[in-house]
Symmetry: C2
Subunit: 332 residues, 2 copies
């Protein structure tokens, strides 16, 4: 198994990523399982300077699609962009998964176009592995598809359940629909139609779940439209940052201990602690890390991708779609 | 000025509300400014037992619309419900504002039907006075209108700006649109159309604002569709509760000091610290408190309503709507 790492993605590329890859290798992650995509000399020198002896395979490029760039424009005008070379590596079989901290839109678009969809899958979804009071749960979609149709929401439920089974080891994941009330008739037209579609499908649907309930173990998979899912993540990010700032601003009163403990608590709740979000629906495993990620995120990201590949999430998603199609054709 | 308090609304009614009203009066809030709606003997005895000498006016009723009840059913089957009597008191001029901790849907529906809309206002919106790194800002709508049209979003902007001017004392409030990206073309159809409508209106529109940015002083008024606004609040509520739980679960490691300080920090960020949310667009001031509110929320709620009434928010909203209408008719 080999994982392509986009060494030119994110706010701290390539230096933090070189440091992170070094740490991963020194921690025992095999260089044979890595395919680094980025400036060859810089990466080689960097890894050596951090004490790495066996340099992984490198695909050279110095071109990146910036975070601020339009994904489609970037893909058109930069055929040698690092994310496109990562996708090409998976397409050709040189790698089976991707770790990407760069422009999210460009990652989603190039993976979707380059890798194609899993048979049966209609739209990709970004899944986030979040922490609540009763352990981890999956929230999706976190922004790949801001205006889904009900059929896409059902597919998200199925893909999220496959991820929860394979990666979180939850046998029969309970699926909830993110809504602003418990009753079936709550929310907008999309949510009402999605509720009835999910309710009639052969999945373990437990009904609507509200934003305050997601942290308390009610559902293992929280299905949201990409707009709401993205908003949930960003509000948590901003609120965490706000709390840290406040603790800092009041540091004399609160003491250094408080700041440290708060950071630990907020850090544990941060989905980037497990490396990043997973792009579901495309052929091949793609991890989308936060653009702000630093070195310490690289190893968890690599482990997350390795786990997803080895547990066969994509194959299981394909099977689930087949079962769903068969169920909808058989008399109920 | 008199404020009607629904003494039968919320999870801890009436006992916590009786305690809260007592505390408010003992703290100097004039009994003449209160109109308590609920069981007369229970309220009188309760206030006396807490040391209140001058008992405010009471409108007797023992009927309440429960939180779990359908608002419309409740309103039809319970003509003597406490929230309806509060609305009737404002309608007749016996009171100018309402503090309500009960069924939000029933509060919104009975206020909208009973008080009618401010001239020019098309839909009510729930405004929340939130705390960020640079001070307070207004988020609306928090759930009165989950499926708004762009014209409603523009009205929210105007109403939120009036509230920010009058209550937060911000002279020229900067208005942002809650979206999942900065560019005008981001988000769903509603957001794109709302962006262009707000951008062309004679308001201080600063463009899209993302969920992580709202806490950092970028905008004084954050306009959201009721679905997203409600989700933002609920996620913050749940995440805060999760952090408190975690701090508690690790109490030996974290220490009592940590828990206390964290609660203080989370408490300050809680919009219910200022009493609750404000229903804008209806004739008359209605504060919607959280159903979980206890005694200590009553005084801030009363102060919030008093401030909104005395600063003339409704009148200023009406004026703003007139100006908006005039601007859209004049050649630009």
């Amino acid at each position: 198994m080999r994982i392509a790492v986009d060494m030119l993605g994110g706010d701290h590329a390539p230096h933090e990523l070189i440091l992170g890859v070094s740490q991963a290798i020194l921690d025992g992650f095999s260089p044979d399982e890595l395919l680094l995509v980025g400036p060859e000399d810089l990466i080689t020198d960097g890894l050596r300077s951090h004490g790495v002896e066996t340099i992984p395979a490198i695909v050279h490029t110095e071109v990146a699609i910036a975070s601020s760039e339009s994904p489609i424009e970037g893909m058109k005008s930069k055929p040698d962009a690092s994310i496109l070379k990562c996708v090409a590596a998976v397409k050709s079989g040189d790698a089976q998964g991707i770790v990407a901290f760069g422009n999210t839109g460009a990652t989603v678009a190039s993976a979707t176009l380059g890798l194609r969809m899993i048979p049966g899958a209609r739209r990709p979804a970004i899944a986030v592995n979040m922490l609540g009071d009763s352990g981890r749960f999956v929230l999706l979609d976190a922004g790949a598809n801001p205006t889904p149709k009900p059929a896409h929401m059902l597919q998200q439920a199925v893909m999220g359940a496959a991820l929860a089974r394979d990666v979180l080891k939850i046998e029969n994941p309970r699926i909830g629909l993110l809504n602003i009330g418990g009753e079936a008739a709550k929310g907008n037209a999309l949510l009402k139609e999605s509720y009835s579609l999910l309710d009639g499908a052969p999945i373990n649907f437990i009904g609507n779940i509200e934003g305050n309930e997601i942290f308390f173990g009610k559902a293992d998979v929280v299905v949201a439209d990409g707009f709401s899912g993205n908003t949930v993540l960003k509000v948590m990010e901003g609120f965490s940052e706000y709390l840290s700032h406040q603790a800092h601003a009041h540091s004399q009163a609160e003491g250094e201990d408080f700041k440290g403990t708060l950071r630990k608590l907020l850090g544990a709740a941060d989905y980037t602690e497990v490396g990043g979000a997973i792009l579901l629906g495309v052929n091949g495993t793609v991890l989308i890390g936060h653009g702000r990620s630093k070195a310490k995120t690289v190893l968890p990201a690599l482990r997350q991708v390795r786990l997803e590949i080895s547990s066969g999430v994509d194959k299981h998603i394909e099977e689930s779609f087949r079962e769903l199609a068969a169920a909808s054709q058989s008399p109920s």
